[in-house]
């Protein structure tokens, strides 16, 4: 971007003020035990067109930052699990994964069709309601001291299968929106799905060798940060050219990188993700006119209530399958309700493909509702005081 002579300090000032404001909000939300994601969306809504203080100078920076944010979000999602974990989880938990997909994709999809959305737009809305926020949930489990609980593997396995379904879903929808004759669309989709399967297969068997080839034996955080981010952006750009979307390509790179490098990359890239993902959430809010929200509010509330229930049932069922007791089932159900970053990523892909703004305002309102209500539900579902085990004492 090129700025006129006087604009550079102004741009710095605007970016600085936005980041400062977001930092403040993140602090407030941390104190309230909430995720900052809904608040970032609100910032975007307030600053964008039709909002209180429209920002002009830095919109290009925010737009590019948002693109990077999507790539980094998906890259880290891919880095989160090894190919082996994905395969094992899929083998053991495909039933729960299928229940999750059926229960949570369907409401959004049917709602979309009922609203008169085209088939493709309804598929996007289904994606928005389908995917839970793995970022918020991981944080929540840690904050609530539930990482060691027995229902946690059930929760995590749902997140893993969602991850894999996303890997297939994203190339399919990008193929669908690319349009063209049905034959060509089918070709794109088959190609994309094949790429996903091949990459996961290779990553499982030869992940270490592939990582070695890309990065050598380095353990230097700076080298890993720059190389992995660079690779993800380059491959992301290449993905855009072949209609696979940058997000999917970055996700595949994340899966392909394995071993120690992957673990280290997760640590060094986490702050980068936090920054650019935050910018992405603001950007998403910027695109939406707050005036569009009241008309869709009732719809969003209905959709949120229905899909909160279906997610609850999903978690309840998945943990029961793993032999977890009644309390644990409730905790698992409530923990999964929250939707966040990936619902927004899906909606953004839809908007980027020129699908109209009802999708955006509906998705934003939906994520605002469940992004706030989800963690509260997870907290409230189990408020019993902990009972320390009583030790049996020998009679005196």
């Amino acid at each position: 971007m090129t700025l006129a002579a006087g604009e550079a300090p102004l741009a710095l000032l605007e970016i600085g003020l936005i980041l400062l404001g977001m930092g403040l909000l993140a602090r407030l939300s941390a104190r309230a035990g909430m995720s900052p994601i809904p608040l970032f969306l609100l910032v975007g809504l307030l600053l964008g067109r039709g909002g209180l203080v429209p920002v002009a100078t830095v919109s290009e920076f925010i737009e590019i930052g948002a693109d990077i944010g999507v790539v980094v979000l998906l890259l880290l999602l891919g880095l989160e699990y090894t190919g082996r974990e994905l395969q094992q989880s899929m083998r053991e938990n495909w039933v729960s994964g299928a229940v999750d997909t059926a229960l949570n994709f369907t409401p959004g999809f049917v709602f979309g069709l009922a609203l008169g959305f085209s088939f493709v737009r309804a598929v996007f809305l289904g994606g928005v309601t389908y995917v839970s926020s793995s970022g918020i949930i991981a944080k929540l489990l840690s904050d609530l001291g539930r990482m060691g609980n027995r229902e946690t593997p059930a929760i995590l396995s749902i997140l893993v299968t969602e991850d894999l379904v996303m890997a297939l879903y994203l190339p399919v929808v990008t193929g669908l929106v690319a349009g063209g004759p049905p034959f060509e669309t089918a070709g794109t989709i088959v190609l994309a799905v094949a790429a996903v399967i091949v990459v996961i297969g290779i990553a499982t068997r030869h992940g270490t060798r592939f990582t070695l080839l890309l990065l050598g034996r380095t353990r230097d955080p700076e080298i890993i940060l720059l190389s992995v981010l660079g690779i993800a952006l380059v491959v992301g750009a290449a993905g855009e050219y072949v209609n696979l979307s940058a997000a999917v390509a970055a996700f595949l790179i994340g899966i392909a990188i394995s071993g120690d490098v992957a673990r280290q990359a997760r640590v060094v890239l986490a702050p980068i993700r936090d920054l650019f993902a935050a910018i992405f959430f603001v950007f998403f809010g910027l695109e939406i006119d707050p005036g569009e929200i009241p008309p869709v509010l009732a719809l969003a509330v209905a959709l949120a209530v229905i899909t909160a229930l279906t997610k609850y049932v999903t978690g309840w069922y998945a943990s029961r399958r793993m032999g977890v007791g009644p309390y644990g089932r409730r905790r698992a159900g409530a923990a999964l309700i929250v939707r966040g970053e990936f619902s927004i990523v899906i909606a953004q892909l839809g908007i980027g493909a020129g699908l109209d703004a009802t999708l955006g305002s509906l998705a934003a309102t939906y994520v605002l509702l469940l992004g706030i209500a989800g963690p509260i539900a997870a907290r409230l579902v189990d408020r019993r005081a902990p009972r320390l085990p009583q030790l049996e004492r020998p009679p005196v």
Binding site: A138, N149, P153, L156, S157, G259, R266
Partner: protein
């Protein structure tokens, strides 16, 4: 040693748990990032932890130390005192080592040094009792067993 149950937590690490002598269920999460969580399970709801303490790797090591070392290293120490004169050492395969890139059979490690390679640790994964066709790579950690001068000879070859 109590029976330890192992559960994979995808993306997080591995959870180990066992029932202590007093009936208390105790667990540890070993995170991929190196941190540990110490867990104590609830008596009413066995799926829930009443206590979950996050430990960075430094605090975890302090705690291990206070508890008297890990069972594995304790056993290794036992082994070494029991078999007098036998040495166990961990050796890294150096950049210029003639053994790097060759299988154990090709380099005839056993015949030339009289030391046994009992395990190789690569990228944190252990290959116990590697076969003759196992190929060493630069950076591998070789666990060798033998008389002190045999292990010393191997150390020279690996340097």
């Amino acid at each position: 040693m109590a029976k330890v149950q192992e559960t994979l937590l995808p993306g997080v690490g591995v959870r180990y748990e066992f029932t202590a002598g007093t009936g208390v269920r105790i667990g540890v999460i070993s995170r991929f990032t190196g941190e540990r969580d110490l867990l104590v399970f609830d008596s009413v709801d066995p799926d829930r932890c009443v206590l979950s303490i996050e430990l960075d790797s430094d605090s975890a090591h302090t705690l291990i130390d206070l508890l008297g070392g890990s069972q594995v290293s304790q056993r290794l120490a036992d082994l070494m005192t029991h078999v007098e004169g036998l040495a166990i050492e961990q050796l890294t395969v150096g950049e210029g080592s003639e053994l790097a890139g060759r299988t154990l059979a090709e380099s005839q490690v056993q015949r030339r040094t009289q030391a046994s390679v009992i395990a190789v640790i690569r990228d944190g994964d252990a290959e116990a009792a590697p076969g003759a066709d196992f190929r060493l790579e630069v950076g591998d950690l070789v666990v060798a067993l033998g008389m002190p001068d045999a292990v010393a000879t191997l150390a020279e070859l690996l340097a």
